[in-house]
């Protein structure tokens, strides 16, 4: 109820609400429409053409690019890899980030340093991540040395070079790089939960674990749900790290949709086709986002419990 007592009619109130809302949203909307929506719409247009990026945009082919992508086993393989990463991220990354955030939320010495260290991987550029991890995991690298030192020599194998294990190894690197993002998000959320509530629960006889489960986590709910959403979308859009670490290889065994799109679209100069792949990726994310918004985030927008 933003509007004050001025206008009594419903339309009047709506207009008022729109007025304030519109004004507040205007800067963001203008910037967004100009630099995001407009280029995206243009790019989506390319998907209907056979275009190598250099000649004139005149070879209209309708949905042929889309048919080609959906029939390409390499693309379908990439989709399955993305799905795999999404599932693993939800099962591993989020709980991991949550656990660390909970641990780092309590005061103890060296907490600031630890928070910094845990965030550092996120800040490091993808190129360096790829270089460092390739060095660590290669034959005669640190991983092999460590395993040999504790007597597990046979456990080592060049995971990034093996088509069976490359996706999992890649996921491990992805987790290393991006869990810090979710961690600071959840930490920010934890900051918003006042001490008194947790203390009250303790006074009421709840153990630490019960306190977390029944008090902290529910209050952290909106943040967790945002984190999950971003994790899903991020996993689907995964590009930079995969590109510099494996380029989707070997032989497409660690391909993702965005890597496929960049390789076919940019590197191989088929911009129309690349745009079509981008549109497909967009549609997949869009459907998931809508579904998520409707069923999961709905309770956050309803406003009943958390709003005040």
């Amino acid at each position: 109820m933003a509007t004050d007592v001025g206008s009594s009619s419903r339309t009047g109130r709506n207009l008022r609400a729109w007025g304030v809302a519109g004004l507040f949203m205007l800067p963001a909307l203008a910037l967004y429409a100009l630099f995001v929506l407009f280029p995206i719409v243009q790019a989506a247009r390319f998907s209907l053409f056979d275009w190598n990026g250099l000649e004139a945009l005149d070879k209209f082919i309708g949905l042929a690019n889309f048919e080609r992508a959906l029939a390409d086993p390499v693309f379908l393989g990439a989709v399955s890899h993305n799905a795999f990463i999404v599932i693993l991220s939800l099962a591993v990354q989020i709980p991991f980030a949550l656990g660390l955030a909970l641990m780092l939320n309590r005061k103890f010495r060296g907490r600031a340093i630890l928070r910094l260290i845990f965030f550092a991987p996120y800040v490091i550029a993808e190129v360096i991540t790829a270089i460092v991890w390739s060095l660590l995991l290669q034959p005669n690298g640190l991983a092999e040395h460590l395993l040999t030192a504790i007597g597990l020599e046979d456990a080592y194998s060049p995971w990034l070079a093996d088509t069976d294990t490359v996706l999992i190894a890649l996921f491990f690197i992805i987790t290393w790089k991006y869990f810090g993002f979710h961690m600071i998000l959840l930490l920010a959320g934890l900051q918003g939960i006042p001490r008194e509530i947790e203390e009250a629960a303790a006074i009421d006889g709840a153990s630490r674990w019960q306190g977390i489960r029944y008090v902290t986590l529910p209050l952290l709910g909106p943040t967790i749900r945002v984190s999950v959403f971003l994790s899903i979308i991020g996993s689907l859009q995964l590009f930079d790290l995969v590109w510099v670490t494996t380029r989707g290889g070997p032989v497409n065994f660690s391909n993702t949709m965005a890597v496929y799109m960049f390789d076919r679209g940019f590197v191989r100069f088929q911009f129309g086709y690349g745009s079509a792949v981008a549109v497909i990726l967009f549609l997949i994310c869009f459907v998931l986002a809508l579904a998520y918004q409707r069923w999961v985030l709905r309770r956050d927008t309803e406003g009943a419990t958390t709003y005040g």
Binding site: L54, I131, S134, L135, P158, T246
Partner: protein, 451 residues
């Protein structure tokens, strides 16, 4: 684009041009180059304004090249400075980018319609695409007077439909580099001359516990060299030209190439973890070879420099390295001395001022070529008569091989379109990753070419 956008883009281009003009003199993008060298701020061109006797109007040439480190960086700049001193009305605006960054940058420039006046090109299918889009100038007439000074085989790589669109300044050859120590340890006294001898060599090395071949599996173009060479041997010049030009890759020679490559792969000759090894840097194929974890590597003429850089300081440039040309395939249609290789060149933009071709001539003059050769940097100049300037013994071996070759096939992912090139690299990779067959490789390539 609607006419309004077109107007705006024209204004945008003009704005760009004016800003380039007002830059004043050659501006070399400073690079944080070799250690110890402080970066160069944009240098001043000392050229005075046009003397009264010169009535020529001022001209600016934008020049994009990729030799972003010394010694090439300085040499190009020196040549540009010399030209500007001799032609005071000409200003040369040098833009330097790293190899991969350049590809991206050029693509966006071309798409916007901002065609540079003089820019790096690798010839072949990539250049053809640019020509067909009307972005490159036809310089056949302009170079008629001096085109005979350039190595014809190299020049051919920068032709499209018989017309000249680019001039090469470098052409190298792919061949087998090997660690002489490994060969001696295995008791191998002469490098193999035929494919069967080569396979025997591999087996001998393996029996002695020496990794026979270093391969950079992550960069699929390295593995594609094997297949491409075998294709050149089996199909010969005629077969290769037919396939590249017509897009018909159904010749059984290509299946044969795959089968022969598979013979090698079945011997398991590569270093551990080769599928993830990049071609340079830590953990790379070059590093493997440098540390004797791979006796041979099929690679271009730049390998000695890379091995030296990756050798832990233990190997001077070219030390302990030998070179032999790709072996002959007995009974195959192709000439046993045919080569596979590629290099660098420059193309002229469609709106470039006429002085650009003259400047280009200066860049590939015999004197400039000799200076390039003397650097022994891996650039093998293509101006006739410059061969003697290359003194490095390793590079001289490669030059010899190049001279013997009547036909040099441009790397397949350059000769064909980027689309097909990528498909070829990927298809061949399935062979050494164990997921494809010789037939499936040829089929995949044929299918991609037909698209």
């Amino acid at each position: 684009m609607t006419s309004r956008w077109r107007l705006l883009s024209v204004m945008g281009v003009m704005a760009l041009m004016f800003s380039a003009c007002s830059g004043g003199g050659a501006t070399t993008s400073p690079s944080a180059a070799a250690s110890g060298a402080p970066s160069a701020a944009p240098s001043e061109a000392a050229s005075p304004s046009t003397a009264p006797s010169e009535a020529a109007a001022p001209v600016t040439i934008t020049w994009y090249h990729i030799q972003n480190n010394d010694p090439g960086l300085s040499l190009w700049k020196a040549l540009a400075d010399e030209y500007m001193a001799a032609h005071p009305n000409v200003k040369i605006d040098i833009q330097v980018n790293e190899n991969e960054a350049f590809k991206t940058k050029l693509t966006t420039l071309l798409q916007q319609g901002d065609v540079p006046d003089l820019f790096q090109t690798w010839g072949g299918g990539g250049l053809r695409q640019q020509v067909e889009a009307g972005l490159v100038k036809d310089i056949t007439a302009d170079i008629a007077s001096w085109k005979d000074t350039i190595n014809p085989g190299a020049l051919g790589m920068y032709q499209v439909d018989g017309k000249n669109y680019g001039i090469p300044f470098d052409l190298g050859l792919v061949g087998f580099w090997y660690n002489t120590k490994s060969f001696t340890d295995a008791g191998i006294t002469t490098p193999p001359k035929t494919w069967d001898e080569f396979l025997t060599t591999v087996q001998t090395l393996k029996a002695k516990g020496i990794t026979p071949i270093a391969l950079a599996g992550k960069d699929t173009w390295t593995g594609a060299f094997y297949w491409a060479y075998l294709a050149v041997r089996n199909a010969g010049q005629a077969g290769m030209e037919k396939a590249v030009v017509s897009g018909d890759w159904s010749d059984p020679a290509f299946v044969k190439a795959g089968e022969q490559f598979k013979q090698l792969i079945d011997l398991k000759p590569f270093q551990k973890g080769f599928l993830a090894a990049p071609w340079d840097g830590a953990g790379s194929g070059a590093a493997a070879m440098a540390t004797y974890n791979g006796a041979m590597q099929l690679m271009g003429q730049w390998l000695p420099g890379t091995v030296n850089a990756n050798s832990g300081g233990s190997r001077a440039m070219g030390e302990g390295l030998g070179w032999f040309p790709f072996p002959a395939v007995e009974g195959a249609a192709g000439d046993p001395f045919d080569g596979l290789g590629g290099g660098n060149g420059f193309a002229v933009g469609k709106d470039a001022p006429p002085e650009t071709v003259d400047f280009l001539h200066y860049l590939v003059s015999l004197d400039a070529a000799n200076r390039w050769g003397a650097l022994n940097s891996g650039i093998l100049p293509t101006t006739n008569g410059s061969e003697a300037s290359t003194t490095d013994p390793m590079l001289s071996l490669v030059l010899e091989g190049r001279a013997k070759a009547k036909f040099v096939q441009l790397y397949l992912d350059q000769a064909t379109t980027p689309e097909l090139g990528g498909a070829i690299n990927e298809a061949v990779a399935t062979l050494y990753a164990g997921t494809g067959t010789p037939e499936s490789v040829a089929q995949a390539i044929n299918a991609a070419a037909g698209q």
